[in-house]
Point group: D2
């Protein structure tokens, strides 16, 4: 009410009668939330786009750089760093597209959704209002239908998860014992000057971790009572603000992390050789399987490895070259890049 | 491995060598999850469709049935029951469209996403596999890019929230002191035979309440490590199963609730008259405002109501008829129904 | 590091060498978090205590005020308003005791928990440090054992839920159609001057709704990696700050709501009579059951009520007086008050 | 009702009239939930106790086994494996104590908490009922005061987080590139027979990840309406069942993981030497700081490390021995073990 009075004082006599006419506070707050969301989303989309571009560049440059593929954090079979970066690109790109597609509607319904004080003019005023603001025109007021904020929350949650995947991989690859990547602007430590902490990735992870709980708060607040909720609506405000901020922070840190990522192909190669051929076990099984059946081959290879043997005992050297066992890694990188470029243009 | 052995025994020699070839367990489990999700989604979409159809029928039948609009659970201004039902229709319809649009991709990447044991044939086998299963073909394996399950989880969470809104309103309208609706199959009580418990709505609410936490679990599990996660992937299984079940339960109960909803327009009319005209305060303010300014009118009406007076003191009877102050309620109902019918055909 | 430099400059030569000695940033941040939590907790405990005292006063004053007990939002059997208030008191009191009991430990472990740079003096310095700060002395550094923040988060979540229960009841009792309570400082509306919105209860509910998601974020962040987490630790900061703020807000609004609650025993009595005796069905069943068996009695009462009959047809008037069917309500109120007073002294 | 009929048929005439007398369905379901919880908790406490015992044994045996302490997944300063295990012991022990202390109350209030159909006998029947079942006697019915289930949920959530910390460390230490621990019963892979997957730790992590969302569902369901909630109560059932199951699963897997953990002190020693002295940077800074001030020393060490130099250039060999820079690690292990043993007896 004080705000309405102030606005009424600020305009001329005829216009003064129109200030807040037909509207209720929720119309203003929901519409403002969508305007704020639009602005924040623009920044988040920029950073997700920057992260995707950096991932695409890494995928392109390292299309054929072999490294260990790791499952359950154990070395499994060789992949390429390009394939890993293509997976990042795919995840971030999908999440970005979802977020860009979320519809942000204007809100105008008056006290309980009928726009009664505008007589018959309700739909026309709603249309003009939405157009003036550049927001979508909803079929009717969404005072108590919260699909729109829930969609936004979900898209922000998914975007946070997609960048968290990137950051998680960077933190693991940057471990002292792995050392395959480092952040350009790695942070030191107040007590340990030798450390190269992957600060951007850590911050991205910390920011992304806020998102699921906040998204759940917004999903859980969808059951608004009647024409305006007693608590569930007001609960959206801090949760949505925090979610926009934290998703934005996660995206910005992920971009910074990827744009300055230093990759060490020599260390990748060295790590591939740590297991003395075991990483090629799948290939050896496959080749032996052609002779004596899959299960028998599996058992034979397992026997050698269980007693700490070397696969050179039962397989030729060229069978054990990681670069020769990359399957369709390159083709999959090309598919991801083609999809990315098609989307960008 | 026992399953692979069993399948290998079940087919002929040449085919036996192809069983599970190129695949890893995650390929099978992720693909199976998508097949299960497709089947469950079909049932959920049916029930959401049934709930939407029932809401549409209520909106049509009660397009002009006046009732109290309530904000913060206080009577505010008149609306129609049709407008309330149109809001339900809109929410359920939007959520249903989102769920129907979620892409369910096949999974095939082999040990670490390269399909190395298939040589060059990876993309071709992936395409054939996806086509055979009727699932979408992804550009590359999504072993560690979990946007697809997160999208599904979010859509299920939003659908649960949309039906919870309906159920919440039904529970409130069915209160002994309100009595504007009742469920056809209201439940009795082991100790109180007079009760008409809105059992379907209560069950829908209970089911829907599981969804935000489960969706958050799936969002929070997106940061898979490397090429297969150590925990985050396995965590998806119970959460996704439970989410499909609970969203399906919520949708089925909401449908049952709406299909058998008994509406009492007389009670709606009686409740409108409880406040002795106060419900028309907004209209009276608006009419007085034309004479003496909005803020002055607001203060005058407030003064009458604060001392427990009746608005007939300052306003003509016809100004106080709820049916004459429904604004664009009917027009908004028509818009919602038109959108629903356009979508259905 | 800039802060360490500033502090070092601020003290004398000998002391300067001791600034931050042995400590790492996490020591300072975790300890600061506990100091902040202690201060915030004090305010929250005050407000929970005020809410409990107000609930106790309501329980005492309305020990024998009959009202409708409601299950699934249907009138069930009579209770007293005192019994309802005693339930509020019990919930808030239990949650307050839990929060008061949470141990807030000092943190001091150095770079990785060994306090290596202090030589043998680690435990002694830790003890002095904890004593100086008035925080608990842990057996060893909890850099990566996050039970302490998780306990705090859980207690704040439970406190939020306990006050939400109170606020939920107030919102429902304040409904236009129920009207049994009102907030002293009920809010108006920019467009509807007649409304008496239960603003404090609504704000309490909105605040409390933030808590479960934030508590889940803190529980989900317990799996810290090694000696300091890469993301999970940093994720605690915004979540814990927000949780302290929102639980405090919920408690303050609940206190304001209860301290100014206006109770309308006449309206309670009138609502009890809405159902024409049906509310006494349980009692009538019990009395008839003594004659002809419980199930037969249940069926007979149900039959009368289903055809819209009045229980006076089969039961004497005095059987249908709500005030005569309050069971042990008074005794339970007395138990809750005795427990509260015992705890207070 | 069918169950009540069946029970009534099953007992003699006089007793038949007492079946379900005074009680409502919620009394039975809540009490049954507490009985189930008691049984499940016993199993969970056993497994947490087994995990704690195994951690204690590891702490004792490896009290003086040096390994790299890691912060942000970067090697930081030396610790002992015993200190890491002592941290696990502390977290699991604290969580176990909390869970053991949760009060499980009987529920008996009748239709709306007054036990009206028992006349004056309510409190006496409640006391006898609670005693018969071996559950705690609450001061009044907790039909709508859900602190008790929320406390249980929080304790289960904290226990899940405490074991997740252990499992997270095991997964990281078991990485191919780290190799400091392995699970006795490591799992193979259908395609990669060489892998030693830390299956128990992975399963513990997957189970623990369900807990925060489920706990949040239970916290979020605390705002029960009036004397029995319409949805929030019924929502507790699946969430609490799933939480008991998943916390139990997490505890059992963590116990299995720890009881069979194979530790490799040689690999720990080798990893300590990977950085060529950098891990001792803190100590070198401290010693140099005594001569030329802390900040100057910090800068000098940083300079050597930034250009890839070796700390032997500026520090004596004995300064660079990790075993000589363990600070109070042993003393802290002893404190944790003493606390554990004191609690056990």
């Amino acid at each position: 009410v004080p705000l309405v009075e102030a606005l009424t004082d600020a305009v001329d006599g005829d216009a003064a009668r129109q200030v807040h006419r037909g509207a209720t506070s929720q119309d203003i707050l929901d519409t403002a939330a969508m305007v704020v969301a639009r602005r924040a989303r623009k920044a988040i989309l920029d950073d997700l786009g920057g992260a995707a571009a950096a991932a695409a560049e890494l995928a392109r440059r390292h299309r054929d750089t072999p490294m260990a593929g790791r499952t359950l954090l154990q070395q499994a079979v060789p992949i390429t760093f390009g394939l890993k970066a293509a997976g990042w690109l795919e995840g971030v790109g999908e999440a970005r597209a979802d977020l860009a597609a979320v519809v942000l509607p204007a809100q105008l319904g008056g006290a309980a959704g009928t726009l009664a004080s505008l007589g018959e003019a309700g739909p026309a005023v709603l249309a003009a209002y939405a157009q003036e603001l550049g927001l979508a025109e909803p079929p009717l007021a969404w005072h108590a239908n919260r699909v729109a904020p829930a969609r936004l929350a979900s898209a922000l949650g998914i975007a946070s998860g997609a960048v968290a995947k990137v950051a998680q991989d960077v933190v693991l690859l940057a471990q002292t014992e792995v050392g395959e990547v480092a952040e350009a602007a790695s942070g030191g430590s107040s007590t340990m000057p030798h450390k190269r902490n992957p600060v951007a990735a850590v911050n991205a992870l910390a920011s992304a971790r806020q998102a699921p709980g906040l998204a759940a708060t917004l999903l859980g607040a969808m059951a608004h009572e009647h024409e305006r909720a007693a608590g569930a609506w007001q609960a959206e405000w801090p949760a949505l603000s925090a979610l926009l901020a934290t998703a934005g922070s996660a995206a910005a840190w992920a971009r910074a992390c990827l744009e300055g990522l230093e990759v060490d192909p020599d260390r990748m190669r060295a790590n591939l050789e740590l297991t003395g051929g075991a990483l090629m076990a799948e290939r050896v099984v496959a080749v032996l399987a052609a002779e004596r059946g899959r299960l028998e081959a599996h058992r034979e290879v397992e026997a050698v490895l269980r007693r700490g043997g070397d696969l050179r005992e039962i397989a030729a050297d060229e069978l054990l070259d990681p670069a020769g066992y990359l399957g369709s890694a390159g083709a999959f990188v090309d598919r991801a890049l083609a999809a990315y470029e098609a989307q960008a243009h």
